[in-house]
């Protein structure tokens, strides 16, 4: 069902855990399937460089793998660069996901955005292109493909 990359990230998830006194924390839930993801960011206030990123996920294989990959992808990037890490980019990096699992990758994108939002609020800054995170993520029901 899953690609080898997905399985690798599921079996050996990178960056699982918590960051004490994180610069930003975001927790999002997926209304469609009841899964939850939390992202911790450690950000250098001067350079806006993401020094560290950790996650915890209550979710399916795709949710775990996309969290792991997304944390890898934002680590070492600036906030602005991290904003470019979309769910599509994460999926591509994982060699794709089954169609029914596409929505799981939205969790990772939204969780990072939520953590950045938390950081922005704490520091009273504005991040280009960032919107207030939704508490619930869901996309339109993919219609049965006839």
């Amino acid at each position: 069902m899953y690609s080898d990359k997905v399985m690798d990230h599921f079996e050996h998830p990178r960056n699982v855990g918590e960051i004490e006194n994180a610069s930003g924390v975001g927790t999002v839930g997926n209304a469609k399937c009841g899964d939850i993801m939390r992202i911790y960011l450690d950000i250098d206030d001067a350079t806006h460089m993401i020094r560290d990123c950790k996650f915890k996920t209550f979710g399916c294989g795709a949710a775990v793998a996309t969290s792991s990959m997304a944390t890898e992808m934002v680590k070492g990037k600036t906030i602005e660069e991290a904003m470019q890490v979309t769910n599509k980019a994460v999926m591509e990096a994982l060699d794709g996901l089954p169609p029914v699992k596409v929505h799981c990758s939205l969790l990772a994108e939204e969780a990072i955005h939520a953590a950045l939002w938390d950081y922005a609020e704490k520091h009273d800054i504005k991040i280009q292109g960032l919107e207030k995170p939704k508490s619930d993520i869901s996309e339109h029901d993919e219609d049965e493909e006839y």
Partner: protein, 398 residues
């Protein structure tokens, strides 16, 4: 190849080698069409008659009450749609339950679109349908009661005899989806007042793609699949002779070892349940504690998600399922677990392990050991568990 511990026998089972053996001649040797006149097809006709006899015997029914189908789903569709059609002039109300297999539930929803009214009875926290609720639901225009013999996810066995009595008393047709129970539990259609019963061979070590519908003599049910004159004009289509032979053999073998097998499975299952419940914290047993299929165990592990659990079990060589296999195309938590009152996030963390005739005590012990390790690992990754631990610590520090 790594050893696989297959604990998903409610999804499907291994075909017994003796069953395959019995089927083989009907592919390349006795391959005639049973509808033909010539002698060459006599072995096919005889073999079909034999299976019909074996099944009739197993249910206390007669041979001409057994209709071969291509599986449990078709049998369920046929029973509900044909009964609805046949008795529409009497009424358009059907009673079933919230925990039926989708083969019944979705057929019920389809009938609703056609103008029928369907009552979906609730169940208690163990998954048992209340006979009182059923009695209250009965109306003068109720034409059909369909309640499964045993649930495929949580294994609860329903009070079929009492339900049959209610149906009989009110002159209402009674169908039971016995796909999980047939050849696992003794069933007598007369004693239990069953008018229609669905079964599927691949749930008791027979082949996939064949099953049957029992229809009590005298019921005015029509065809569901129209065409040739097979199955006394009630089920058209060239008969799957090898499949029917395999079905018959599987019934014979299962019946012969049913009591013994139930005893063995119950012992293994109870050991599994005992170890999981005592060695893993924050876990719930789903389904009735005693009134359940002897091969079924279903747990909800708090703070973790079922698919991740399945994948990690798979890596350890263990096949289990989370909710019903047939519905794993869907992301919703199982309707059965919601019906017994579990909140969404707990329903998501459920695991069904269903034993088979080949399961050993070593398999069970290995599975529990792996399960402990995996549950711990997944909890260490779970934000829900983190929150839970933190709030617990807070309380302790107060």
């Amino acid at each position: 190849m790594k050893k696989v511990i297959y604990l998903d026998n409610a999804a499907t089972t291994r075909v017994r080698p003796e069953v395959v053996e019995a089927m083989l001649p009907y592919f390349t040797e006795h391959y005639g069409n049973p509808s033909s006149v010539y002698d060459f097809s006599t072995p096919c006709k005889k073999a079909m008659a034999h299976t019909r006899e074996v099944i009739a015997g197993s249910l206390g029914a007669s041979e001409n009450e057994i209709y071969f189908t291509n599986g449990g789903t078709e049998a369920d569709n046929w029973a509900l749609k044909a009964a609805a059609e046949a008795y529409a002039s009497k009424g358009k109300h059907i009673i079933t339950t919230q925990i039926e297999h989708h083969a019944v539930l979705h057929t019920g929803q389809y009938l609703e679109k056609l103008g029928y009214e369907v009552t979906y009875l609730p169940v208690d926290e163990n998954g048992v349908v209340s006979v009182d609720a059923l009695k209250k639901a009965v109306r003068p225009d109720t034409i059909l009661i369909s309640v499964m013999f045993a649930n495929n996810e949580i294994g609860t066995i329903e009070p079929i005899r009492e339900i049959g009595e209610v149906a009989k008393e009110h002159g209402i047709l009674f169908h039971t989806d016995a796909v999980q129970a047939y050849c696992h539990e003794p069933i007598n259609v007369d004693e239990l007042h069953i008018d229609m019963l669905s079964a599927s061979a691949h749930k008791f070590n027979g082949p996939k793609g064949v099953g049957f519908l029992y229809i009590r003599k005298g019921l005015k049910l029509r065809s569901f699949i129209h065409g040739g004159a097979q199955e006394r004009k009630r089920r058209a289509g060239t008969e799957n002779v090898p499949g029917i032979v395999g079905l018959g053999k599987a019934v014979e073998l299962s019946l012969a070892s049913m009591e013994e097998n139930k005893k063995k499975e119950t012992e293994l299952r109870d050991h599994l349940i005992h170890r999981v419940m005592t060695e893993i914290p924050y876990v719930r047993l789903n389904g009735h504690p005693s009134q359940r299929l002897s091969n079924n165990a279903n747990f909800s592990f708090q703070f973790i998600e079922g698919e991740s659990l399945l994948i990690m079990l798979d890596m350890a060589g263990i096949c289990g399922s989370s909710g019903s296999a047939c519905t794993s195309g869907s992301l919703d938590p199982s309707h059965v677990l919601l019906a017994i009152g579990l909140p969404h996030e707990i329903a998501h963390g459920s695991l069904r392990l269903t034993l088979g005739e080949e399961t050993t005590m070593e398999d069970i012990d290995y599975t529990v050991d792996q399960l402990k390790r995996i549950v711990e690992r997944l909890r260490s990754m779970s934000p829900l568990y983190e929150d839970f631990v933190k709030s617990r610590e807070k309380k302790e520090n107060q």
